[in-house]
Symmetry: C2
Subunit: 453 residues, 2 copies
Amino acid sequence: MKIPYKIYLEESEMPMHWYNVRADMKNKPVPLLHPQTKQPMTLDELSQVFCCELARQELDDTTAYIPIPQEIRDFYKMYRPSPLVRAYCLEERLGTPAHIYYKFEGNNTSGSHKLNSAIAQAYYAKMQGLKGVTTETGAGQWGTALSMACSYLGLECKVFMVKVSYEQKPFRREVMRTYGASITPSPSNTTEVGRKILEQFPETGGSLGCAISEAVETASNLDGYRYVLGSVLNQVLLHQSIIGLEAKAAMDKYHIKPDIIIGCAGGGSNLGGLISPFAGQKLRGEADMRLIAVEPESCPSLTRGTFAYDYCDTGMICPLSKMYTLGSTYMPASIHAGGLRYHGMSSVVSQLYADGLMEAVSVPQTKVFEAAELFARVEGILPAPESSHAIRVAIDEALKCKETGEEKNIVFGLTGTGYFDLYAYKRFNDGEMSDYVPTDEEIAASVAKLPQI
Amino acid sequence: MKIPYKIYLEESEMPMHWYNVRADMKNKPVPLLHPQTKQPMTLDELSQVFCCELARQELDDTTAYIPIPQEIRDFYKMYRPSPLVRAYCLEERLGTPAHIYYKFEGNNTSGSHKLNSAIAQAYYAKMQGLKGVTTETGAGQWGTALSMACSYLGLECKVFMVKVSYEQKPFRREVMRTYGASITPSPSNTTEVGRKILEQFPETGGSLGCAISEAVETASNLDGYRYVLGSVLNQVLLHQSIIGLEAKAAMDKYHIKPDIIIGCAGGGSNLGGLISPFAGQKLRGEADMRLIAVEPESCPSLTRGTFAYDYCDTGMICPLSKMYTLGSTYMPASIHAGGLRYHGMSSVVSQLYADGLMEAVSVPQTKVFEAAELFARVEGILPAPESSHAIRVAIDEALKCKETGEEKNIVFGLTGTGYFDLYAYKRFNDGEMSDYVPTDEEIAASVAKLPQI
């Protein structure tokens, strides 16, 4: 059967359930711990932070298939199914016998896969009768996605945007404003924690950790508000399983058996969503394939981190999660893939990695941008720097096939577009981009500060 | 039959020919005239400016279907077929019984429909053994599209970018650089015409007219180079007919009979491409529907211009075309839809309008951005300011249906995304956008300077 350039599922073939890989895991991810008591977070405690249904999803590690509510499925139909693209042009340019596929999540205005979970989280907030949600955003993809979802449902949306991004990415901010969100540069004087930080460091450009703290404080002080988060959590991976389910359905339709599946890994939302159904097959002994996480050399949580309980935020006010971590005090170098600058990793992904179901590899950013440029030129899509980590390794694997003559099926997640990352491309085009590899001492220093559980 | 949210044609259903509406026109567009001799341009003369096959296409007003070469069809498969989207969410928000559809051309990195002609023009240049092409770009969509096409085919690409855009849109410039194009802010000291202008107006921000002159001069001085243009020309409308052909095939598949088809109109490339097959039906007496061109109130060539021979460029070095024009000396107000700031209109579109086969309407930009914001919020795509002109009128027509209770099928062209137009959205969000309606005297003054033919 001739494989088309782009495989689009019919609407009737779109998944009606999310897949919860935890249900098939022998070693389940261990529970979140309360930041003060260090005891497992109960449903009640979680429901004070997240809305009830999301707290339930966070804790549910036995239900394999969770129905996607009709309203969310209707929203998905606006920008999904996303195409599974056969990268014929890239294959030809590389001269590889491998078949390369990518699942492209960038065809919506948020520019990434983040919208898949944003609409779900906003929907449950709406169903609970909430008035609005708060969140933080760094690179801006998550904030944009949440603004879009809230605007669609008529929810208020308050985004704390890391001040340096707020100033350097005025256009990201403007997209969110167009979707009716209110954007506050963080740290701000609207919260206690913000005022405290500003007093101590009046010139600071802010950090994701600080923005999280401000968003959490704001939600807890406002009636009818909850805090929402765009990665790391079990619930987010659940919603993102739509990526892997659609990819698998498209491949099944054309009898394609993937040999290698590759995703970039920051907090793990895209990677976890993409690989979930395939990891499920491996866990149930139904199929086998390589699953590869790609992280930046400058923020190597899987490849050089420690599998231990750690705070999800640098402010240490959020619950603790058992994960591969560089330590919540680790300060990642300011690489241009902002979405991958996170000290830890989703506990689901971490457990799969610990159990040997996945591999991980780290790559330097200049090599990532070389791959991004090649991809853009032959495939016609300017990729996000985050996604380009996966492109790099897909190309490397395809070149290995060229040496061995193997016709492997290589699938990777193209999470988004780089239209708001052109400053990074400029640095690359100007030859001003450099790489950074943290020393063992540097990593050891922040790992030494891990909480004792 | 339930209409899906998005109708994607199968690859096998994609058009294999472009449609040349001139073949079905009783009143053919009259020929281009030589700027000096004022005589009809011959194939030989045109071939000194454009490559041979494109010159032939420019003159061919009898062949209805022109085969699309395989290599172009393969490139099209990378980003086409573009979806015909049923705007269910917009319909619901408006509470209209009308069925609204849009043909979305923004799902490629150039962000617009311009790629459809860029790849065709670059392909014929390559086939002729040329080394490279030159062009000008204002808003940057055409320059980006051409850079992408040239990079794919291994052609050199020299873009003269209006200096004020070069400075205000550094990221557009960066996309083109990533695709390997060389970008020169215009006016520049690399050409005679540029040096002359810089001497006279050292502080000028440049203009499209000047950039065209520099691109034409550069092409004529370099061996193996030709000049290419992204709108207005017959050949461009021919390539852009892929939009209308796909839209018609998608509608035919679901037995949808369009009542109204709406497109924004600058030089006419998108509008002409979208309406061509439908205008053909009208011309052949096979079907009837309203065809509406939407232009900015500040640059109303169809609604307030004169149907006469005029220069295609403000520098008056290009051929003359018979078209609706405000006069080549007309300086359009600096509205944010840069792609619609053109004094004239494609001669095909002009002739169809003169013959009563089309309507035209002009709209103020603040109303356009109100429509853009509403559309973005319910349909999940941040539209380009140009495209939003069509959205405005589609909404207006849908609201009329709400009053009358008519279930009309309204189709419009969503030519692109607004990711590089956020400065305009910012002005709108800040309440700083205003409208401009030229006075009759202003238009009469530039029309008075039309060449006497």
